[in-house]
């Protein structure tokens, strides 16, 4: 399995600290409960989810049309539109735009797409300073880490960790881990970055085809502040972010924040339809594998609103942490996207799932996540690294189809059980036995006991 990511192995460090893992689990469950409370206040919630699902299916069926319409309308509004087939093309376009503008310092608000494309290291290698301005993203950036959650990037860190990181980089008092104090320090530090910035990069939550505008949702106001000062705003979007019109936001903005954090709406839901006076607004539309995904059985995964609700509810995510997924988007939706993108590499993610389907019930776009994960498993099992598992199951099937052989083998085991040394039984090759104890075999088989009872 060289080169392949192994979720269980990657989660070991996280699960080894059981106190912290427990805390992580509880913190996310708390967010899930807030979501439930917010959802309960909307009588038409289920109708809204069904509408979002239908809306996304409609948009997929006419995606090319809506993207063309978006470009045409956006251009008419003075927005520049660029197309990128892959991550490399995206990074090149953004870099070129920054170069044209002579930008050395860039402020960026949250964008999972730029994470996916590896934009930060690309620009940094070319002498451009990129500052993530979302507090959670800034924390992980200073710690040289990646977000472990798409909405709560630093959810894996405790306030003591943040205090240490800030003490090192922002000069705060190391022993002061009051969240308000730390947030204030970050505000001061980032305010300076905002004022110095030559350009702003944002993600896009929704691109409105009919109106030729883009919508960005934040709680901190970092996208609004970042784009308000410099004269260049680059908005990067995956091509699945387009929606037919603002009418669609009448559905989607009702679902997004409630699903994500349990808020009725994000503090800032901002619409950019024209560049600011004297400025440039550039939208980069990125494919990077999406058109391929849309042709496959995983097309539905492109309906994702990136709310993170499936992560907050997932029993595996909550107990293994976002970094264990080794992919830009973790959790149930990340597992689907990653294993569809590179089955050989991310195949183990399809098994980081109990098939409890809790994610299906919270997904605002009604993506059948556990069905998609099952499909991923089917695909994964065809791949070479998983042949061992398949062989094991085949052997079991072979024995179970042959009652006599089964009887013989169980009788044999009854004799050997006490004799076989533990280190053989729990040999490292026996992955099943690493976290579990082999069950004791009954001294009298069920068949014998059943037959005895019938006779009695």
């Amino acid at each position: 399995m060289s080169g392949a990511h192994n979720h269980a192995r990657a989660a070991e460090a996280f699960t080894a600290d059981s106190k912290r893992a427990h805390w992580h689990d509880k913190a996310l469950w708390f967010v899930r409960q807030k979501r439930d409370k917010a959802v309960a206040s909307v009588p038409e919630w289920e109708a809204l989810r069904a509408e979002a699902e239908a809306l996304k299916a409609h948009t997929r069926a006419h995606l090319g049309y809506y993207l063309r319409l978006f470009e045409e309308r956006a251009k008419a509004n003075g927005i520049e539109v660029y197309w990128a087939e892959d991550a490399e093309a995206h990074n090149q376009i953004v870099h070129r735009l920054l170069q044209e503008h002579g930008a050395r310092r860039v402020v960026k608000s949250k964008s999972m797409l730029t994470e996916e494309c590896g934009l930060n290291p690309y620009l940094q290698a070319r002498g451009i300073e990129v500052v993530d301005t979302d507090l959670g993203e800034r924390i992980v950036q200073l710690a040289s880490q990646h977000p472990s959650h798409i909405v709560l990037p630093a959810i894996h860190l405790k306030k003591e960790d943040v205090a240490r990181i800030f003490a090192k980089h922002l000069g705060t008092a190391p022993e002061n881990h009051d969240p308000a104090y730390l947030t204030r320090a970050a505000r001061e530090h980032l305010r300076q970055k905002f004022l110095e910035a030559d350009a702003a990069i944002t993600g896009v939550n929704f691109a409105l085809a009919e109106e030729g505008a883009v919508t960005v949702c934040t709680n901190e106001g970092n996208a609004d502040l970042g784009t308000a000062l410099p004269n260049l705003h680059i908005a990067c979007m995956g091509l699945e972010k387009v929606v037919p019109s603002a009418e669609a936001l009448g559905v989607l903005t009702r679902l997004l924040a409630r699903s994500a954090t349990g808020q009725a709406i994000t503090t800032y839901t901002s619409h950019f339809r024209r560049p600011k006076p004297g400025g440039r607004l550039c939208v980069v539309i990125v494919d990077n594998g999406r058109s391929g995904l849309l042709k496959e059985e995983f097309a539905q995964a492109t309906a994702c609103l990136r709310c993170g609700a499936c992560m907050n509810t997932c029993p595996v995510y909550r107990r293994s942490g976002g970094h264990s997924y080794g992919y830009v988007v973790p959790g149930p939706i990340g597992s689907v996207l990653a294993s569809a993108r590179d089955t050989a590499r991310y195949g183990s993610l399809a098994f980081a799932c109990t098939l409890c389907a809790s994610c299906d019930t919270v997904c605002p776009a009604k993506i059948d996540l556990h069905e998609l994960l099952l499909k991923s498993r089917r695909r994964v099992i065809e791949q070479k690294p998983f042949h061992a598992k398949r062989t094991g199951l085949r052997m079991a099937a072979f024995v179970l189809r042959r009652p006599r052989l089964y009887r013989f083998l169980t009788a044999l085991w009854r004799r050997l059980e006490g004799v076989v040394p533990k280190r053989w039984l729990y040999h490292p090759k026996n992955a099943w036995g690493r976290e579990r104890q082999m069950p004791k075999i009954a001294q009298t088989p069920f068949r014998a006991r059943y037959a005895k009872r019938r006779r009695a």
């Binding site: 809306l55 709560l152 409105l208 106001g221 970092n222 009418e247 901002s270 619409h271 950019f272």
Partner: protein, 180 residues
């Protein structure tokens, strides 16, 4: 062939829909729009101020500020952002009862940055201008003249450190809705 054409060719979904997409969800209006709005606004960390008359002086007085540090964008044209500690009065076009969001459009009257750089944002909203949900709200926004506009729901906030809510992330530290 350009990147654009290659992407669109791969998508193979160029046909326009038979009719424009329209939401068919039946929305339930809160019983009392005003109560719902103020509850949501305060729940998001904002303050509510009831005034009969919303002049700059009356607002400054009610908020305990000197009129000097308050800029009233309804009557004063602002080109440059003033120094720190500024309070800004802005017009709220309409509000949304279900979530306490207010539609705000700077137009050419004040720079976009004022909304986030001001320490205290005061939104003046006529209480009869409330719609039940975002479904009605988006039908009310006039996109044909829009440059930049936002739904603002209280002061900026973050819970990125251990899920502890802190008011005042990057934008306004305080946000007041003046209902007239």
């Amino acid at each position: 062939m350009s990147a654009k054409e290659r992407i669109l060719q791969a998508l193979q979904s160029d046909t326009p829909p038979a009719e424009p997409w329209q939401s068919r969800v039946e929305t339930f209006a809160p019983d009392d729009l005003l109560t719902s709005f103020t509850t949501a606004w305060e729940g998001a960390g904002g303050e509510v101020l009831w005034l009969g008359e919303a002049s700059k002086e009356a607002i400054a007085l009610a908020l305990g500020a000197t009129t000097k540090k308050v800029v009233d964008t309804r009557h004063e044209k602002i080109d440059e952002i003033a120094p720190e500690g500024l309070w800004a009065i802005v017009e709220g076009v309409f509000g949304v009862a279900e979530n306490g969001a207010v539609w705000i459009e700077p137009k050419e009257r004040y720079p976009r940055a004022l909304l986030t750089l001001a320490e205290h944002v005061v939104v003046v909203l006529e209480k009869r201008r409330l719609v039940p949900t975002m479904a009605q709200a988006y039908r009310k926004v006039d996109f044909s003249t829009l440059s930049y506009g936002l739904f603002l729901a209280g002061p900026s906030k973050t819970a990125d450190i251990e899920q502890s809510l802190v008011i005042g992330a990057h934008g306004a530290l305080k946000c007041t809705a003046v209902l007239v």
